[in-house]
Symmetry: D2
Subunit: 314 residues, 4 copies
């Protein structure tokens, strides 16, 4: 049985696992990312790979899912906002350290591939992953293959502009989708609501320890589950922007399935139902075209490991 | 030598041509479209095909580029706003009338394919066509193949929303890109400018016969070529919206080349320079990623015929 | 009985009347405005005054309501977009020609004063006039007196910005209120709707002779009276912007009464009901403050003559 | 010499002073506001008045500047968001407690009056005060008198809508001016900038203790004084919205002078210069009308006491 190792390299942690050819993770390990030091980051990756390789002898390859722009040859991380890598030839470096073939992929792409092969996107050849977390991670499967674009940096949906002169984005522009439809955007809505309407947002403030800036995402979801009107209004606002964005992506990509992942997807139907409603209202040509499915991701944070491992096998 | 016939079926005219395997049109013919009568529309297509077939005996297939949603089997036009077709099995009907294999494609897709194979997109495997005319026609080539999406209706860029609660669009929504970046949008800008600032728009009004609603697109281009400040301002506005939209498509698709066609592309550098500028200013990640080329289409209105004919050959 | 003459000096016509001290017009006369010639415009004013003076011997003064910025001494028209006057000492010129004391006022101010004294604003010491016509004419009565501002040019509500980067305005800015809430804005809505959704706007197009640019304001009102859905939607849109603007003026001015005049006010309740609704929804502090009345003007186009005449009497 | 007492009744403190007829404060005292208890709030007011009255025997009246809607008879506070008063007959209550005639006024109106009589608005009969603090406090002097509106609640500029569907406001609406142009809006800009662009906002984050929510207004001003690019960008943004709003108020009110007060006015020229620039760019009719002055307030937080005291004297 061919085993491969998938590694999810994020700004705060390196998570790795040994994965079999049915998408099962046989063993996992994680380490904090020494994110300010490129050399140490590579060594940490090598360390977790060696550790897993020591336990499973028939590991044949390693897939890295990295939070950054990966070049078209899948060898170099050109730019990673939350790591110290700039034009880092990470494939060669890690291959030198671990003695196995290495494949490098963007982390959201790896996640998309994991969901497409073993998760909520199974059976769909045209699938869009939208991971709603700190920002929006995007991935795209076309004709059953992972889409990378001409230069390796496609599917960055989060920075499509949806509001002229809108909210600032970390990318330097204004009005990017991820400022309106992400886990952070939900928290932003809740805090803004608590700041200007403390009476209405009583339950949210209580959960947040009395201060708007104390409110976090899981608390908003908790309050919404209890039926709190303020929290539900925040969800409706985020769902509106999310559904509109999926309609815009449908105009461009005409996919068969959307998979919504990221931390915000833990809210399940609380998010899914208003997103579907907003999507249907916003779609151009509704009534004259088949509709894609919209599903919640199934693999959670393991999708990145599974996807990276599977890409190493191909 | 394998010859095929390409037919461009629009709301006002049916244009057809015999095309060789180097993209040359050997003979052309056109007829007005009897657009309110589905049967007569099919008969007009058959008529022009028969006429061309009579002159070139070795024609092997026919490609139709139709202004409408084409289904995933490339047989049926599901919906065509400017024709009377609703779920019309046009492939079977035309095959029955002309006795040749028929391939059906969306007209903008056919145009994209024509430019990709024989026009401004030659040599690019990841190409986006944006045809700026009445609205925005869109086409997409991925990995050297025409992209159709899961249900055959992808690459409809014109109806991506770019302004919340923006201008009305014929699709029933508000704020669609084609209301801000198209030949019609240029005319709209010029007329609005003439309406509210007649003194500033003196030259435009003169060309338009003294009335805002008399101004048309070629006149705006003419005035801009003369250096008229009002016309140039209209071009800058349209170019701004166009460049922003190309940046948004780049975030999603990461193409190697954009080809700008449609009537507005006749303006050439007058349009191209400010579009490139706006694109570069708007692109997320500029400085950390390779840039796609942006080019003006080369085949003009023949691209649809050439592309449809070539798709029939494949 | 003291009689005075009021003259309404607009860009297309000069309308004058002899008015008694109860606001009755005893005789009226009108002439086309020779608007491109300052001298002839003044002579036309003198001509209609002389004609009326010849019939009513006890006329004691003349009030001019002029479409332009009037200086604080009420003697000079500083700027008139639709007349050829620039810093025109019109008081002195007309006094020289007719031999009577002359008072100069902005035309919308004169209209406001007419409605405040003898029309819909009777009994209100804090009244705002909003005349919805080509643009928005504004007038203000505070503590029972006409408000002129420090430099004579207050109450120009039409150029308050309501949409950042919004529609162009003839004043050179973008997003001015009068581009969204005026008779012209209603026509704009209707034409835009007919342009992008001809099927929905069938009745409007029929009335407009088949072309969007053929649709005029009275036709939209006519269709709305018939219950036409498209026309009613246009009215709702305009009413929404109007009501919001009145709420904004209330935050600033806290008036006792709004009077809505101008050509659009001919629509009566068709306009008034949705304006009131939108106003109430938009007002900050609703529930904690008394509400102003909102009324339709009563004097129609005579208000300017009556108001100018009355201001000459004071 | 006639002395009066002015009391500034805010949500957190009650500040009072004895004021002579030249606007000098002879003695001051302050207490925390027991804001959740209407009775205790009145008693605190009486306490500070008694204390001052005991030292200056010839005090003849008391003026209260209260943070809330004051009715047209200047006797009752109808609604006070930061106090527990609802339709509180505060004039009668305090007169009963202190045995002196009492005049009640909105606190921003009192501030406006103080600046108009003894501060930056001296010599101007048409003056607008805009106090940029937590929100926007507004006051208006017309023809040398304090303007109250028909129902006592005019000059609430902060809740004029400037962005459709914009930022939430504590008043329950969205897009109110005070969400874009106030001390709080400056902090909001700075925190948002620090959140999305920590590298650019390094100095601001340093001052704020490393966290976006630690940044406060005086720190942004401090960084701007040092020439920090991020802080200066925040000031430019706020100044842009402020200048636009002053232009809109000028269209309505045509004042001779704007006085900018509130905590943000401590920034002086750092704020004033870009506000003037933005105002001039935004004003409709610029070039054809005299411009109002724009000045920084001179009396600081004492303006409310001085103004209230002076209103009690009239
Ligand atoms: Zn962004
Ligand atoms: Zn559309
Ligand atoms: Zn304007
Ligand atoms: Zn508000």
């Amino acid at each position: 049985m061919a085993l491969t190792i998938g590694v999810d390299v994020g700004g705060t942690k390196v998570a790795a696992g040994v994965v079999d050819d049915r998408g099962n993770i046989l063993e996992k390990v994680r380490r904090p990312t020494p994110s300010t030091n490129p050399k140490e980051t590579a060594e940490t990756i090598a360390e977790v790979v060696d550790l897993l390789k020591g336990k499973f002898e028939d590991v044949t390859a390693v897939g890295l899912g990295c939070a950054g722009f990966v070049d078209e040859t899948r060898s170099v991380v050109m730019f990673a906002p939350n790591l110290a890598w700039r034009d880092e030839p990470i494939k060669a470096i890690v291959e030198g350290l671990v003695g196995l073939p290495v494949v490098v992929e963007n982390d959201a792409n790896a996640t998309a591939w994991g969901e497409a092969r073993y998760g909520a996107g199974r059976g769909h050849d045209y699938m869009v992953l939208v991971a709603l977390g700190t920002g929006i991670g995007g991935g795209l499967v076309i004709d059953g293959e992972l889409y990378r674009g001409r230069f390796g940096v496609g599917a960055e949906y989060g920075h499509v502009r949806v509001v002229p002169d809108g909210r600032r984005c970390g990318c330097g522009n204004r009005g990017c989708w991820e400022q309106y439809a992400s886990g952070n955007a939900l928290v932003y809505e809740a805090r803004e609501l608590a700041r200007v309407s403390p009476a209405l947002a009583g339950r949210l403030l209580e959960l947040g320890g009395g201060k708007p800036e104390g409110i976090n995402g899981p608390q908003v979801t908790e309050a919404a589950r209890e039926g709190d009107a303020a929290a539900l209004e925040c969800f409706r606002t985020i769902a509106q922007w999310t559904g509109q964005g999926l309609a815009d992506l449908t105009a461009v990509l005409d996919p068969g399935c959307f998979v919504i992942g990221g931390g915000l997807s833990d809210a399940g139907d609380l998010l899914l139902e208003p997103v579907r409603q907003a999507f249907t209202n916003a779609l151009t040509g509704r009534g004259h075209r088949p509709l894609p499915e919209i599903r919640i991701a199934e693999l959670g944070s393991a999708a990145g490991i599974v996807g990276a491992a599977d890409l190493a096998r191909l």
